[in-house]
């Protein structure tokens, strides 16, 4: 099933993205404010990386949530509806998130 493949592929991608994110953004731990973020994010390359990261993490999170919920028999009937909600939520969050990244 394609959902399974998407989960796996985004999982592998996230191993890379997340490690990068942790090292670049969160270490060493310090006070974060706009200037610290802007130091990195005014570069369009970083904006691009973050947007890709957002896309990958949203796919993984939403396919994962879908799988967790539909594993329970009672919610199996709502499969289609849940998939629809996941797609809509994903698109909405992606648009909002991308626009946020671009706003820096």
């Amino acid at each position: 099933m394609r959902i399974f493949l998407m989960q796996r592929l985004t999982a592998i991608a996230l191993l890379v993205f997340l490690t990068l994110h942790m090292v670049v953004v969160h270490y060493p731990p310090g006070h974060i404010d706009v200037s610290r973020v802007l130091d990195r994010l005014h570069d369009p390359l970083w904006k691009g990386i973050d947007i890709a990261f957002l896309f990958v993490v949203l796919v993984h999170a939403l396919t994962g949530s879908y799988m967790v919920i539909t594993d329970v028999e009672r919610f199996d009937v709502y499969k289609r509806a849940l998939a629809g909600i996941a797609v809509v939520a994903g698109v909405a969050l992606f648009i909002y998130g991308t626009q946020t990244i671009l706003a820096f």
């Binding site: 999982a11 191993l15 974060i32 404010d33 999170a61 706003a103």
Partner: protein
């Protein structure tokens, strides 16, 4: 529920996964503060910079690390023939997770205490 080490790993993976989804939604919303201006963003960051939240971050680190390491374990099961070592792999995953959380969590803790 049928008790086993495999079930424990599955349960932890699910619990950390759900927790991380909730965190993700929060993260997207918090960073979205920039849309209302740099001041909004900064004040949110300052609020979240308080020691209490810094300590919670260690929990977040634990969730991400465990979920990721367990994910690697799953990928190994999928692509390599390792079911024979399933118990050892699980213990190794827990050990590696613990090491990474301590290594990563100490600086956070120190920073929280001094702040």
């Amino acid at each position: 529920m049928y008790r086993s080490t495999g079930f424990l790993s599955f349960l932890l993976r699910r619990v950390t996964g759900v927790a991380l989804v909730l965190y993700l939604l929060l993260h997207i919303w918090v960073i979205g503060g920039i849309n209302s201006g740099a001041d909004t963003f900064n004040s949110r960051m300052e609020f979240l910079g308080k020691p209490f939240f810094r300590v919670l971050e260690i929990g977040l680190l634990a969730a991400v690390v465990y979920h990721g390491i367990d994910g690697i374990r799953l990928l190994m099961v999928h692509y390599l023939n390792v079911t024979e070592y399933r118990k050892s792999l699980l213990y190794a995953a827990l050990a590696v997770s613990a090491i990474l959380v301590i290594a990563g969590g100490l600086p956070i803790l120190l920073f929280a205490l001094e702040g």
